[in-house]
Assembly symmetry: C2
Homo-oligomer: 371 residues x 2
């Protein structure tokens, strides 16, 4: 573990990130924040282990982890005081807090179970520690939504890996291969080319299966003339990419070809129209309007896109009921789709970054229909 | 998705499992149980989708999932009434409950976030639904700990895949190959031979890295004379396997050879001594005593083993502070280890099933030291 290669340690940004968190936390009513969300933990500390907690106050930055990860934590998180824990959260936290002078501890309410919170509350009472637990949401996620140049570099590398895998997929996929086989070939390519695992399970959905937005690759053999929806992502330096294309073999069904054009027009409208300062719901409208006008409004059953970073789904969320706002530095997908049950579905997905108020497309994969 | 191949639908056991849950729930103070834990959901319903909730009362068995999975749920869970949900738990649950006549709803306290519970409580109040939420833990996990014959068949298949992958690893690993390359070869073999993904990230840790119980494969090149600790598992029909072996290339260091013998003796003592009716802490002692007597007590920093099934870590937990009891039908690992920081570590792990009061070893992989 100690000699594990972390390609870019990104140690300096951690200080800036902690400062930003402290600035936004100054408006909150807690003295310190307990960070338990894995990507938030990695973002703030650089620590890549699978278990650990951060405690961040105005003065202090503590990374608490168990014996398995202490050495790794020291190497990866030089800006943090490393504390070795034993047992569960409620076993060690009250003792660690008791002489800190903190009276109010913020915690990530969507990342702690009811049970953990309950046990922690009990332990605080039993040990007579004067500490109030304050639920919070989205504090670190908000910071993560705006990418730094180093993060954008890593994302760009992950995007390039996915682009290359799509070219490889075009070379491999042919009538007679099953969806599962194709998905596995794509995954192998990604990983052999340097992707750290994959961002999510590769989707290859052919024919009617392409109408199911979350189809898992099946033993189904891909047939000539069918749409083949591919959705996959790489991971580089921890950062994800996300790419969808719908391809056709041989002669294309006329309806699906028409639908492909509608989805592509909707996507282009969104890419060209999206702006910093815009509500994410308004961005969703840019594409949805085109699809509705073509009469397929009901067949676009998901949102326009989502932020991508250390997590493949993160802030902002672009959907008709989103309350997020778009800002320069955000990286997200633009992925409208039309799904006709029993027939097939089309989705075209690019990743973009907002720069100088407008979207710059990161994805380079072509959008030609056929192989 | 609709034509996804599920090798053994296991539809009949669901009725029995529901009956068992109802029997154990009769002692609890709720009218219905909300099941949110993914493996518990799959175990009770057969549903393999990634999102959904079960509601089980004396009379009813409901599977609630969103539009993406409704068709799949109908196919996979014929014993359940399928309800299509929209939005988050607190959006749809109060409405669904309101005319059920249920006054007390059990929920899985370690599988619902503080935030979800809080929002649900608020929604129940706002909508004037008379419903008390009762935290529960381990109800379904307890049932899952005792394996049915069909489950044991699937586990045995997963164990055989891991055994075969170890033979493959012996053929591939040689001085000069990196840990990462070796791990990837093992994963490729597993998946190409029919493993559904892998049970967990393959561990290949060489030389001093083998002393880190949770080492991730590094770019480190494996050297002659070093221990190579391999830990990996396959998945078949949803069921996991888990196998560790420590191998040596060329001449073996004398200390490590001696330690290997100690670990093997400790493991043999545990396999031979473990019995149905025994406390899991007592089982841990069987191996720990041997290691302590040899003077390495401090170097065995983890528990003896853990249950394996739909999850790679599940009940029972075999450790010095476990309160579990062992029973016929349980499947678990026996994996003592000794880790000397800076030098290397040895772990030998088999899977066993308790039958007629004694352990039957499922793992067939040899325990010879060298390649």
């Amino acid at each position: 573990m100690t000699n594990r290669v972390v390609e870019e340690p990104e140690k300096k940004p951690m200080i800036t990130r902690l400062q930003k968190l402290r600035t936004s936390a100054a408006k909150e009513r807690f003295d310190a924040l307990l960070v338990s969300h894995p990507e938030n933990r990695r973002y703030l500390s650089g620590f890549t282990g699978s278990s650990g907690w951060l405690l961040v106050s105005k003065q202090k930055a503590i990374l608490a982890t168990d014996f398995r990860y202490v050495e790794q934590a020291k190497g990866e998180s030089p800006d943090f005081e490393i504390v070795q824990t034993k047992g569960e959260l409620h076993d060690w936290l009250p003792g660690l807090i008791s002489d800190s002078g903190w009276n109010r501890l913020g915690f990530e309410a969507n990342c702690i179970s009811y049970d953990s919170h309950h046990k922690l509350t009990e332990a605080i009472e039993t040990k007579h520690v004067h500490l109030e637990l304050i639920p919070t949401t989205g504090l670190v996620e908000e910071l993560r939504a705006i990418k730094e140049p180093g993060e954008l570099d890593s994302i760009t590398r992950a995007v390039a890996l996915a682009d290359a895998a799509l070219e490889q997929a075009k070379a491999i996929i042919r009538p007679g291969i099953t969806e599962k086989e194709a998905a596995w070939e794509i995954e192998k390519f990604l990983r052999q080319e340097g992707s750290e695992g994959i961002a999510f399970e590769v989707i290859v959905a052919s024919g009617p299966n392409s109408a199911l937005p979350h189809a898992r690759p099946a033993e189904r053999t891909i047939q000539s003339g069918e749409p083949v929806l591919i959705d996959m992502g790489a991971r580089f330096n921890g950062y994800c990419s996300d790419l969808s294309r719908t391809l056709f073999f041989g002669q294309t069904d006329n309806t699906l070809r028409r639908i492909y054009d509608i989805v592509l027009r909707a996507q282009t409208a969104a890419i060209e129209g999206v702006e910093a300062g815009m509500d994410a719901a308004q961005a969703d409208r840019l594409a949805r309007r085109t699809i509705e006008q073509a009469g397929y409004g009901d067949a676009f059953g998901h949102g326009l896109g989502h932020g991508v970073g250390l997590a493949v789904h993160e802030s902002p969320r672009l959907g008709f009921n989103s309350s997020d706002s778009l800002a320069d530095g955000m990286v997200f997908t633009i992925e409208p789709g039309i799904y006709l049950v029993g027939q097939g579905g089309i989705r075209i997905e690019d990743m973009v970054v907002l720069e100088n108020g407008k979207a710059r497309v990161l994805t380079k994969a072509k959008k030609d229909l056929s192989f």
